[in-house]
C-alpha cells in the first residue's frame, strides 16, 4: 500500500475518531492514545534531526529514518484531524546520547523499543478499527528501525 493511500486512510479515520473522542469511561480515549504516540514519534524525529546536525549518525541512514519519523508524525496528526502540524515545544532529548555514533545508536534504539512497546499497548485497547492497520504499519516500521540500529552497532540483528 502506498504512503499516499496510507495517509488517506489515516485522514479518513479522523472524522470518526473525533466523533468518538468524548470518553465515556475512565480509560484513555483514542485521541489520548494518539497524542501519546505522537509525543514519542516527535521525540524520535527530534533525536534523528539532532543526530544528523551533530554527525552522530551515518547521514544516509539518519536521513532515511528521519524521513520515516516525519511521515509517522504527519500521519498521526492527520489521524487526530489536524490539517497541519500543531506548534509544540521541542521534545526533550533526555536520555539521548550524541557523544558518538555508536552511543547515539544505542540510546535511540532504546527509544525506538519504547515506542514499539507503546504501539503494542495502544493497539490492544484502541477502539477505532479503521486506524488499527495504519497504526500497526507504523509500529512495524519502528520494529525495522530497531534492526537497522542493531546492524549499525554490530549486534545480533534479532
Amino acid at each position: 500500500m502506498s504512503t499516499n493511500r496510507r495517509q488517506l486512510l489515516l485522514g479518513a479515520a479522523a472524522a470518526s475518531l473525533a466523533a468518538a473522542s468524548p470518553a465515556a469511561a475512565a480509560e484513555p480515549s483514542d485521541a489520548d492514545q494518539l497524542e501519546r504516540l505522537l509525543g514519542l514519534e516527535r521525540r524520535l524525529q527530534a533525536a534523528y534531526e539532532a543526530a544528523l546536525a551533530r554527525d552522530a549518525v551515518d547521514p544516509e541512514l539518519g536521513a532515511l529514518l528521519l524521513g520515516h519519523e516525519r511521515e509517522h508524525v504527519r500521519g498521526l496528526e492527520q489521524a487526530l484531524g489536524r490539517r497541519r502540524p500543531r506548534a509544540t515545544a521541542p521534545p526533550p532529548k533526555v536520555g539521548i546520547d550524541f557523544a558518538s555514533r555508536p552511543r547515539f545508536a544505542r540510546s535511540v534504539l532504546a527509544l525506538e523499543r519504547e515506542t514499539v512497546a507503546a504501539y503494542q499497548e495502544v493497539l490492544t485497547g484502541f477502539r477505532n478499527d479503521r486506524l488499527l492497520q495504519p497504526l500497526g504499519s507504523i509500529m512495524a516500521c519502528g520494529a525495522q528501525h530497531e534492526v537497522a540500529l542493531r546492524q549499525v552497532l554490530g549486534d545480533d540483528l534479532l
Binding site: M1, T3, R6, L61, L64, L65, G67, H68, E71, H72, G75, V116, Y119, Q120, L123, T124, G125, D129, L132, Q133, P134, G136, S137, I138, M139, A140, C141, G142, A143, Q144, H145, E146, V147, A148, Q151, L157, L158
Partner: protein, 181 residues
C-alpha cells in the same frame, strides 16, 4: 539481466500463491468455539505459521553462513508464534490445525537455485506474514488476541528487515510496513 528479473518476479508470485494455499486449504477446526470468537482467523494464522516454519527450513538449506544461521533463528521464532496462537485457539475451546509434512509443503514452494532466490522467497513469505497479522488486528475481538497479534506483527517486521539486510538493502526501507510492498 532482464530475463533474470522476470524469472525472479515469477518466483515471488509462485511463492505467494503457494503460501496462500498452505494457509487457506487446511480443514476447519474440529473444536466448537462460539461464532465471532476469532478462532477461525486464529486457526488460519496457525496454518500460515506452519507453512512458514517449513518454508524457513527450505530457505535455510539454500543459504550459507550468517544467512543460514538467521534462517534457523527466524524458523524458531515462527515456531514460537505458531505455539502462541495455537494456545489462544485452545483457550477458546477450539483445536488448532496440525502441520502437514515437510514434503507436503515442499512441493508447493518455488525451486530455489541460489541464495538470491531463497531471499526473494523469504521476503515474500515475511511480507505475507506481516500482512496477515496486521489484517488480524482489525478483525480479532479480544484484547489478549490483539496484543498477541500486535507483538507478532512486530516480530515479523523485524524478520523482514533481516531479509532486507541479508539481501544487501536497507533494513527499514519504508515508513509504513504493510506487507504489500
Amino acid at each position: 539481466m532482464r530475463s533474470r528479473l522476470t524469472r525472479r518476479g515469477a518466483l515471488g508470485g509462485a511463492a505467494a500463491l503457494a503460501l496462500a494455499s498452505c494457509g487457506g486449504g487446511d480443514p476447519p477446526p474440529t473444536g466448537q468455539p462460539r461464532a465471532g470468537s476469532g478462532a477461525g482467523l486464529l486457526n488460519s494464522l496457525v496454518a500460515l505459521e506452519h507453512a512458514g516454519i517449513a518454508a524457513w527450513g527450505a530457505i535455510g538449506e539454500v543459504l550459507r553462513g550468517d544467512a543460514r544461521r538467521y534462517a534457523g533463528v527466524i524458523r524458531e521464532r515462527e515456531q514460537a508464534h505458531a505455539a502462541r496462537i495455537a494456545d489462544l485457539v485452545r483457550r477458546l475451546g477450539g483445536t488448532p490445525p496440525q502441520a502437514r509434512s515437510d514434503a507436503d509443503y515442499a512441493q508447493l514452494f518455488p525451486r530455489m537455485h541460489s541464495e538470491a532466490d531463497a531471499l526473494h522467497f523469504a521476503r515474500d513469505l515475511e511480507e505475507r506474514l506481516v500482512r496477515a497479522y496486521l489484517d488480524a488486528l482489525r478483525l480479532l475481538p479480544d484484547p489478549e488476541q490483539r496484543r498477541a497479534t500486535a507483538e507478532i506483527a512486530a516480530d515479523e517486521a523485524e524478520d523482514l528487515a533481516v531479509v532486507h539486510a541479508l539481501a544487501g538493502g536497507p533494513a527499514a526501507p519504508q515508513a509504513f510496513v504493510t506487507g504489500t510492498a
